[in-house]
Symmetry: C2
Subunit: 298 residues, 2 copies
DNA sequence: TATGATTTATTCCTGATGGGAATGATCGGC
DNA sequence: GCCGATCATTCCCATCAGGAATAAATCATA
């Protein structure tokens, strides 16, 4: 028997002056009220009401319990209200994990929009290339680029990220411009170490798949650093679109092997499977989905 | 499921950092804890813990609930403690109904002893000849003299009260001193109206029972008033021992028909049948029983 | 005094549920 | 990759809460 409900019944009895009335107000039968009061009396080891069939009068103990019961019920209801009203408008701290480079360059407009839209939420952005353990660190939502390892997390696909094979004109000067993937064998390749295939790049064309064995002096695990290395004329790299597009457009970077396509990387939002997703996380995810056209191609 | 227990489990989980630990501390199984937390989460419509199998971390909502849960549990435990510690030492207001005259004359020493012994109790003495409705007026204990009407009350016999047939020498002067009950026919009798037999007095002797038809100018429902009437030489009356003894001893009253006995009246303590008799009432009753020799003959 | 109306206590029954054992799944460490 | 620890789930059973019916008590009224 729920003692919260017992206390509620007790309070109604005392205020209403009758078990039957209280039963009606509570939407239960009169025997149930009898039993709840009896349970409280046994719980506290004292009688709470002097009662005949006609009158109900609280004992001194009943009076003392009454005040405390009111207090308890108030606290409990306040807890419920506290949660509920903070659930109508998202609140609390929302911890989100995003890939560093991608996040900084592409996501900030969405972040800004979210922060402005949901004033009650403190957004705790965690930039990281690692795939952190979400639940353990209290991360409710993470963006992940690339193929997902199998896990218990729920994934929501947001789109894909194009990649481009690029180098600077400076680097290319005096070298043979690659015409096919196989030509890359003769080049310095800058390798992104977090992708599984660190020693080969895969290209597709109308003639089929090409696997290029590549090598080079530099492995990095950060897209920004990779771009920086390219800009330093260190070699050829596959850059994600947010690192490559501006440079290609301005001529600082040259898009190589334009007739060969590089598999785009999937972009996912992932989150722990839970019965109760917080509204702040839900609304953030909704915004990501709504704005995904701005930072990914479907 | 008792939500008080759920909150308790929640608090232990948050403090202990583990469902299993909390389960041990609470003396229940781990599945029970799982279910209690799940119930709270459904109750509040939000997740309370980020949880993996290794770590437990409260959500922002969990933190908010925690404070309120502590408060609720504190209130509840305080209610229990409040009652229990006030039950070790009797407390509250004890309302007792006692027959006016008897109470004033015979009971005050016991009353005084009780008040001195149980400082925490406020004693609400209600002097009345009426047989009040105990529960309705919140009377926990009543003393009653005379045959009990059948009722749902519990009766504890404390002893009996002797009665004496008396008159003043002044009244008797110039009249025939009664030698047998039948002689009362020629006398002014003062009648106590609360006893059933208002028109006859019953006497017993070694020769058997005598029923005397009596009459007189005065009916009263108060023993003190009856005594006062006798002292005013208005007639013969049957007085209870607490009204008669002192007068007989001092010679102000004359004890009539000493060879005939008048049925003594039973003295009872009565109280409502209840599962939880308060300690203040219990201790008062115990004291009455212990001291009953002082104001009644067994 | 008897009857009726109202209210609480009790009984009995049924459906719901809380609790635990066993099992499954996941995670972290070695 | 295996093992230990932990939480979730399933299943079963004993228990219990709730309601209908009934009993008991009280008060009002005829």
């Amino acid at each position: 028997m729920d003692r919260i409900d017992c206390l509620r019944a007790f309070v109604r009895c005392l205020e209403g002056g009758s078990f039957s009335v209280a039963a009606n107000e509570l939407g239960i039968g009169q025997p149930a009220v009898s039993k709840r009061i009896a349970l409280l009396e046994s719980e506290f080891g004292t009688q709470l009401f002097f009662r005949t069939t006609r009158k109900l009068r609280p004992t001194p103990e009943g009076h003392r319990i009454y005040d405390l019961a009111r207090q308890i019920l108030a606290s409990f209801d306040q807890a419920r209200v506290n949660i509920e009203e903070n659930s109508l408008r998202p609140s609390g701290t929302l911890r989100v994990s995003v890939p560093s480079s991608f996040g900084r360059r592409y996501l900030m407009p969405v972040i800004a929009e979210y922060v402005r839209a949901y004033q009650g939420v403190r957004l705790d952005l965690r930039f990281s290339e690692r795939f952190v353990n979400l639940v353990e660190e209290g991360v409710e939502l993470a963006l992940r680029i690339g193929k997902l390892e199998s896990s218990t997390l729920v994934a929501r696909r947001l789109g894909t990220v194009q990649r481009y094979l690029v180098a600077t004109p400076d680097y290319l000067r005096g070298r043979a411009l690659p015409r096919t993937p196989e030509d890359l064998d003769a080049h310095q390749c800058i390798i992104y170490s977090r992708l599984s295939s660190a020693s080969e790049w895969i290209f597709d064309s109308e003639h089929g798949r090409h696997v290029a064995s590549i090598d080079g002096p530099l492995l990095v695990d950060d897209a920004d650093a990779m771009q920086e290395a390219v800009m330093q004329h260190l070699g050829i790299a596959i850059l994600p679109e947010w690192c490559a597009v501006a440079g290609i457009r301005s001529g600082e970077l040259q898009n190589l092997l334009p007739d060969f396509s590089i598999a785009a990387l999937p972009l996912h939002a992932v989150y722990p499977e839970t019965h109760w997703m917080s509204l702040r996380a839900r609304s953030f995810l909704d915004l990501l989905i709504k704005r995904s056209g701005q930072f990914a191609t479907s």
